[in-house]
């Protein structure tokens, strides 16, 4: 197996773990594992989290939240709260009137999408546990917390609905005024799937179906959400500090929602402690804080507690996936049909309806086929709204296709790697336009797979697996595979427009050469752990030929970084980092004009290398870019008509998405007595094109793997039949620790992107997208010979045990009777109890 794939490969192998370095050699910073500039503050506690902010006269806000999933609000009485010590004010929706507006959804995926009003404070009805109903404002945090208990709300309970298939019957309506729980139906067709299916049937091929469940997840970034709004002393102007991934978008949305002129709002994302998509939003509390600060004329702070955030911050995933593949007997895919039901939750937050659509183009993945059908039905339920969570639609897609490829391999009796090889796009076929209409610019699935198989010891592990099966070992071994690609570097604006997404996908960079020769890079990205200060310094240092430590990067504040589209969707490097590079090139071009003038040479004779301009053929005629910068500042001797600046901006609208890919292999041991699955080996070989900082890349892969593995093994947001969030704290919602995760073996191949000058592809979400099917596939593989075909995620020991012992079951729900891990009827073969 490995020998076949080795032959004739061109990929460049890279060293496994990059040892971090402090300083590069003189001129080349890109590609070096430079230690981060961000670290010094963070490791000494000199941090600037939003919750750290103290201001004179600061008030503290606490939110009164619904304890029931669905109810009419008959009365909200804040009078008792007003009498409590330290309370300054208390408001219900009625008290604040129209000032609160409605929260925006920026992605109406279809023209007839049902788009209910989403009020920051519930008006006449609550529709999920944790929905905000009233706000208390006090002099300190403790007084505010106490006072929330004094607010009286008269709820008249209404039926709840948690299961999507139940909800689609429209018997229990989440939004009575809309008359349906079906949010939208989003279709896509490439080729003719019905014809492909007919062909498979006619030619003795196979039509193979599976249902997979994407459980609901809680993003749980380590920093709880927080917002501080500071009214400026004069006029109707505000500074909004928010733990947000999107200060630019938030500024616009707050202006539109609250009716405050955009130029009078400044948004600052100070240090932000992780987001993973959960801070890519416009939240009720941000709007409420702004309205309260405006009304009372004093600064106000709100910070969620963790258990509060579990109800009030968006959830991830939550899909029922019905997948069908039509193929020939020798495993060639003729067509793929995907039918999704996607749980919106009770309301549409900023991009809620679009998340499954982002995955729509990825189910066909790395495989060639002539027919692809995609249908997604969005569904309202009485649960917390869903929205972007690391991967945002693409992990869901990769899971379905990689699982069904492995399941199809079992069915056809073909090795799962071989089945993939028969269908994937070959290296020499790039650029390749897929049936979903995307053009993958470059890739090398053969090389990544060969490397992964080698690092993994695939053949030996298959031998060991067979030996364990032969002797009926109580510990069985399974191997899972994920040959993924993803679409990131969001995004070409025209494509977003064609999908009805409300914003564009460009990114901005502005470079200022200071008179002393130092450099300020202003970026529109908003990092929250991804190391842009370091990486953009590397890019700028290389392009400008200046020292790495001479570069500062400014971000996160709409006043000093006024133009941007922020950070999510693995876009920052591909769009924002490349914009930095393009801006730097413009700076060099302008500086070259000045240099030529100063050196009295023709511009065409001036060369630039390592920060120095020199004249061809005149070894003594040179000047540095720092000297040019100072000369420009003085402006004593510049070319006629030239503006006295070499500063430059670039706004890049990418011409395409980028398509990193990789091959992940996972070996899992299953203790068949208890059902416990344990990862023994995890190998990830990723191709993310050229690399700016391998240290940062490796870290992103590790972090992504941890979250994808957590979905496979540990995490699930569980609601009971009354739509109470049963996994309401970190005691029950299991975010893994270091003791619960294995050591990863990571490596890379490098196939540069052809659609940007840096050849980069982005890596932020890749680990998460790839890993979940590799792990679950391995767990299933370990016990497949015992008759197990499917195990529901997370593959808890109990589910694995049940699957082993009830042949044909998927392990079922992990919750007790009266609670549901995933809505009502699960698969057709299980109800979760002993049978």
């Amino acid at each position: 197996m490995t020998e076949e794939l080795d032959a004739g490969l061109i990929a460049e192998q890279v060293e496994e773990h990059p040892e971090a370095i402090d300083q590069p050699d003189a001129t080349r910073h890109i590609g070096r594992p430079l230690k981060r500039k961000e670290d010094r503050r963070l490791i000494t506690g000199r941090t600037r989290w939003t919750d750290n902010i103290q201001l004179p006269g600061l008030m503290h806000m606490a939110i009164v939240r619904s304890p029931v999933a669905h109810a009419r609000i008959n009365r909200v009485d804040v009078s008792a709260a007003l009498d409590r010590p330290g309370v300054i004010a208390a408001f219900s929706a009625a008290d604040l009137g129209d000032a609160l507006g409605t929260l925006p959804c920026a992605w109406p995926v279809t023209a007839d999408m049902v788009h209910p009003d989403h009020h920051p404070l519930a008006t006449d009805e609550v529709r999920h546990v944790g929905e905000a109903v009233a706000v208390v404002v006090a002099t300190d945090r403790y007084a505010a917390a106490d006072a929330t208990e004094a607010v009286e709300v008269d709820y008249e309970p209404l039926p709840a609905v948690t299961d999507m298939e139940e909800a689609l019957k429209d018997e229990v309506l989440v939004h009575a005024d809309k008359g349906t729980n079906k949010t939208y139906l989003w279709p896509f067709d490439g080729g003719d799937y019905d014809a492909a299916r007919a062909q498979a049937e006619a030619e003795g091929g196979i039509v193979f179906k599976r249902r997979y469940i994407q459980q609901r997840l809680i993003p749980a970034a380590m920093e709880p959400r927080s917002v501080v709004v500071e009214p400026l002393t004069e006029g109707d102007e505000y500074t909004v500090y928010s733990a947000t991934q999107i200060p630019h978008i938030l500024r616009l949305m707050l202006a539109l929602t609250c009716g405050i002129p955009e130029q009078q709002i400044r948004v600052i994302a100070p240090d932000v402690g992780g987001g993973f998509g959960s801070k890519l939003n416009v939240y009720a509390e941000e709007v409420i804080a702004l309205v309260v600060a405006r009304k009372l004329g004093r600064p106000v702070k709100w910070t969620e507690s963790r258990s509060e955030g579990f109800q009030a911050t968006i959830h991830g995933r939550d899909q029922i996936q019905d997948i069908e593949v039509a193929a020939t007997r020798d495993g060639r895919i003729l067509g793929l049909s995907v039918d999704l039901k996607a749980d919106m939750g009770a309301y549409l937050q900023l991009v809620t309806p679009g998340i499954p659509v982002l995955g729509a183009f990825m189910f066909n993945a790395i495989y060639k086929m002539d027919a692809y059908r995609f249908r997604c039905t969005g569904v309202f339920t009485t649960k917390t709204p869903t929205d972007a969570y690391r991967g945002a639609g693409r992990p869901e897609a990769t899971y379905a296709i990689e699982r069904i490829m492995s399941d199809l391999a079992y069915e056809l009796g073909i090795d799962p790697i071989e089945l993939r090889r028969r269908n994937w796009i070959k290296h020499e076929e790039f650029p390749y336009t897929t049936i979903a209409g995307l053009t993958y610019d470059s890739g090398n699935y053969e090389a990544a797979t060969a490397r992964a198989l080698e690092l993994f010891g695939y053949d030996e592990l298959r031998r060991e697996q067979q030996e364990r099966r032969d002797r009926n070992d109580p510990v069985q071994l399974g191997i899972g595979i994920s040959t993924f690609t993803e679409m990131c570097g969001l995004a070409p604006s025209r494509v977003l427009g064609s999908l009805s997404y409300g914003a564009g996908g460009w990114e901005a960079a502005s470079i200022r050469m200071l008179p002393s020769g130092k450099v300020e890079v202003v970026t529109g990205t908003t990092p929250h752990g991804q190391g842009h200060l370091t990486a953009w310094s590397q890019i700028a240092a290389d392009a400008l030929g200046v020292p790495f430590e001479d570069v500062n990067v400014i971000f996160g504040d709409t006043q000093s970084s006024p133009v941007g589209m922020d950070t999510y969707g693995s876009r920052s490097l591909v769009v924002g980092g490349v914009a930095v590079h393009l801006a730097a090139r413009k700076v060099v071009d302008k500086a070259r004009k000045v240099a030529a003038h100063l050196l009295e040479a023709a511009e065409g004779d001036v060369e630039f290398s390592g920060g120095t301009f020199s004249v061809k053929g005149s070894p003594d005629a040179k000047t540095t870019i720092q000297e040019v910068s100072l000369a420009t500042f003085a402006a004593h001797n510049l070319p006629d008509g030239m503006e006295p600046t070499i500063n430059a901006d670039a706004v890049l609208d990418p011409e395409n998405f980028s398509f990193p890919h990789g091959t992940h292999l996972c070996a899992v041991e299953v203790d068949t007595e208890t059902g416990r699955p344990t990862i023994r080996t995890y190998v990830a070989v990723d191709d993310i094109g050229n690399v700016i900082n391998p240290l940062i890349v490796e870290g992103q892969v590790h972090g992504g793997l941890a979250q994808g593995i957590a979905q496979a093994l540990y995490e699930e947001a569980v609601y009971d039949a009354d739509a109470n969030l049963v996994t309401g704290t970190m005691v029950d919602y299991l975010v893994p620790s270091a003791a619960d995760l294995p050591e990863f073996t990571t490596d890379r191949t490098e196939t540069p992107s052809t659609t940007n000058p840096l050849g980069v592809k982005g890596v932020g979400e890749a680990g998460t997208i790839a890993s979940t099917p590799a792990v679950v596939g391995a767990v299933v593989d370990a016990v497949h010979h015992l008759g197990v075909q499917e195990i529901r995620m997370p593959t808890t020991p109990e589910r694995v045990w049940r699957a082993i012992n009830n042949s044909g079951s998927d392990g079922g729900s992990r919750a007790a009777e009266g609670t549901i891990a995933y809505g009502g009827p699960q698969t057709s073969t299980t109800a979760g109890g002993a049978e």
Binding site: A145, D146, S305, E308, V718, L734, S737, W801, A816
Partner: protein
């Protein structure tokens, strides 16, 4: 997130603590390490009017040998129990089980007596105390009394300690030679509570198990002794597969809960498997 208001007292002796508790009434609570109580208060699941902090009562802390008993002060922290040489020598089961409780930081503050008094059925120490047949020494307004482990845990989160009383110390019989022990804890992630736990103590003689004690964690509202299994283990050879037959009875008579962590039938299955493994390890340790 924010605890409700309460008054706070910090006595310096057991007598003073009992007096203060008596004066404060039924809604007073003892504060030991706070690792169980403070999370409850932060989630506002309890509203005590007064906390009586035993942190200043030095006499409650420490481990000593008293004849054929190991005496562990109720305010001895988990970390201290884990690292105490007397515990290591005379009661390794306790050290081993305590090392599985929560995480290092929690173990620096959490106390032996606090965990036992809290009596969470998923807590590891009650089943260990039951298997060890420990004695609980309680001081109240009427003086001291001793309660055996079998009577100490009365119900879910309830023990023999009445309002106004303080758990002073726990006395553990020193087991002589021939005894081996093991604690098997099954949880979903490392810092999680036990789904099921098994504390096994066995004494071997010749090539057989002479007596066995099996305490089960999270198989009911209080710790359970797997008595059918214990009886079946007596006389079983340590060599052949007989242990497994006996531990197949480990779940007999239990009515474990079905909850988010596991359903009852799976818990019973785990109790059997873990009992077998614990007994095998305990035998190996003799």
């Amino acid at each position: 997130m924010i605890p409700p208001e309460f008054d706070y007292l910090r006595p310096h002796s057991v007598d003073a603590a009992v007096t203060e508790l008596g004066r404060a009434g039924e809604d007073a609570k003892v504060l030991a390490g706070g690792q169980s109580l403070l999370p409850l208060l932060r989630l506002r699941l309890a509203y005590p009017t007064v906390l009586v902090d035993l942190g200043g009562v030095g006499e409650l802390r420490g481990v000593r040998r008293d004849g054929d008993e190991l005496v562990i002060g109720s305010m001895t922290t988990h970390h201290e129990v884990m690292h105490d040489p007397l515990v290591a020598e005379h009661c390794p089961l306790l050290a081993q089980a305590t090392s599985t409780v929560a995480d290092p930081a929690v173990r620096h503050r959490g106390t032996f007596g606090g965990a036992l008094s809290h009596a969470d059925p998923a807590g590891d120490l009650p089943a260990v105390a039951a298997a060890l047949e420990a004695t609980f020494v309680i001081e109240g307004p009427n003086g001291r009394r001793s309660v055996p482990a079998a009577e100490f845990f009365s119900d879910y989160l309830e023990t023999a300690v009445q309002p106004g009383e303080v758990l002073v110390e726990v006395r553990v019989p020193v087991l002589g030679p021939g005894w081996g022990s093991a604690y098997e804890k099954f949880n979903r992630v490392a810092q999680a509570w036990a789904v099921v736990g098994v504390a096994a103590l066995v004494r071997t003689e010749g090539g057989s198990i002479a007596e066995a004690r099996i305490g089960l964690t999270n198989m009911g509202p209080t710790p359970v002794r797997a008595s059918a299994c214990e009886q079946a283990l007596a006389g079983v050879s340590t060599q052949n597969g007989g242990i497994g037959q006996a531990t197949d009875l480990a779940a007999d008579g239990t009515e474990p809960p079905s909850d988010l962590s596991a359903q009852a039938d799976y818990r019973q299955h785990l109790a059997r498997v873990l009992s077998r493994r614990a007994v095998q390890k305990a035998v190996a340790a003799t």
